[in-house]
Amino acid sequence: MSDEALLARYRRAQRRRRWAVAAAQAALLAAFLLLWELAAARYWVNPMLTSRPSAVWQTLVSMAASGSLWVHVGVTLQETLAGFAIGMALGMGIAVALWWWPALAAVLDPYLVVLNALPKIALGPIFYIWLGHQWSVYGMAVAISVVVTIVMLHAGFSEVEANQVLVMRTFGATRGQILRKVVIPASLPTVMAALKVNIGLTLVGVIVGEFLSARAGLGYLIIYGGQVFQMQLVMTSVVILAVISALLYLAVTWAERLVSRLLHLPVRS
């Protein structure tokens, strides 16, 4: 058989495999929804406690019609994106400062380790008191993402091949030039990995922040639904949240691909 024919056959097999996986994934979701609906309809479980897909769907439709869906989704999204941007920018800035002044990094190292290990959620009430009900959500979102960003990026910067930096020094490059032309491009895969980790973490921070203090947003809806014992409201919010987090993750992955291709970087899996 010719190489082309072999390659075509190989590609067909690969394509079939991908389709089979996608089909199995869809079937799994359908089976889960079906079982959930059936279990609630037949009273295998108490629908008061579990709600059911059809009720979730109705809630979704009526919330969309009344417009409240968009308000809550909008609030959560806006807080997440803003928190994400602030967390990344702040983390990036501090990581650069630590790279620039290694002595500073050496001094701050144990504090960063402790801050990184500390469950940031414990800070929620403090933010609430300091920042009030509206801004404490941002405090939570940034707190939860910024330390990881600093630690990840600084580790990435420090791992840049010392001899690539040396090449720059032989040309008499300034520290700023070394940062811009070697350290940042060489660590872009790490920056991308940090983005991926952070989008999820920021969402956690926002939801927890909303649990504690908010008057709107999906976290607020979940807490409210729990308090008034409306499980369909809780479940609907969770489903929306799942969709949002998946979309945000996809967006970051897509951005990563784009940047990697533009800058010819290896995509880190």
Partner: protein, 264 residues
């Protein structure tokens, strides 16, 4: 001969690491005059790369002085081009962009630099790979790209650390001839480190032999060929004087005393 372009006066260097002190050089003195081509040979670990790093200003001597045109070296200079022992190309830049990093950093006229890089890539047979990324190059091609990157800033002093070591024999001879002629016509001052005695003899006006670590200058060999003009390296390898030099330097070279991490 006037004042040396490069001079080391009783230079010693000890590397300090948390695990201990390693004396790499012990009182090395040498001089290279403007337009000269000088080679350093010596066993692995004898401090050859260390000498180049001192002249490039990225290391400071523990004792002694390193001078460029009589002035002590305090840091990297735009007049000095240093080709490291390994290429360390930037994977995110094309070959051309890699070669332009020096002019870019030094704020040189980029249009002129582009022209120079294009010419050098052609001389080194890399034109077809000008827009390729380092990941697509063979080891020998990467080394040639690193050589072009060093020459791109048009320095008048060149420090070359085994610039031809990753090349096959044929390419090595051809490229050595090309580079030698180029550097001669441009009157560059060159200090070349190599393990290859034939390469050292065929290219150089003088060959400096270093002792085993800690490195000292063991002997210096003036390389002269009969005739009005210096033969090109390829011809020099066949000249009657060649084998005499080869045997003398060969006899001077210490066998490597320890298996060194830096080999290759």
């Amino acid at each position: 001969m006037g004042r040396p372009r490069i001079a080391l006066e009783e230079v010693s260097l000890t590397y300090l690491t948390p695990r201990g002190a390693t004396q790499a050089l012990a009182g090395v003195s040498l001089a290279v005059y403007p337009g000269e081509f000088v080679s350093i040979v010596g066993p692995s670990g004898s401090g050859k790369s260390t000498i180049l790093s001192l002249i490039a200003g990225i290391l400071q001597p523990t004792a002694g002085r390193v001078l460029l045109d009589g002035d002590p070296v305090t840091g990297p200079s735009q007049r000095v081009g240093y080709m490291l022992q390994r290429d360390y190309l930037f994977e995110w830049r094309t070959v051309t962009e890699n070669c332009l990093i020096g002019p870019e950093v030094q704020g040189q006229d980029m249009a002129r630099a582009r022209g120079r890089v294009a010419r050098l890539l052609q001389k080194t047979g890399l034109t077809a790979f000008a827009d390729a990324y380092p990941g697509q190059l063979s080891g020998g091609m990467r080394q040639r790209a690193a050589l072009v990157r060093t020459l791109a800033i048009d320095p008048d002093i060149l420090l070359l650390d085994e610039p031809f070591s990753a090349l096959d024999f044929q390419t090595k001879l051809m490229l050595a001839d090309e580079m030698w002629s180029l550097l001669r016509t441009e009157h560059k001052t060159v200090l070349l480190v190599t393990h290859d005695i034939s390469e050292a003899i065929s290219l150089s006006d003088r060959v400096i032999v270093l002792s085993r670590r800690p490195g000292r200058v063991k002997s210096v060999h003036e390389i002269r060929f009969a005739g009005p003009e210096r033969p090109i390296p390829f011809k020099a390898r066949g000249a009657p004087e060649y084998s005499g030099y080869f045997h003398r330097i060969w006899a001077e070279l210490d066998p490597p005393g320890e298996v060194n991490r830096n080999v290759g």
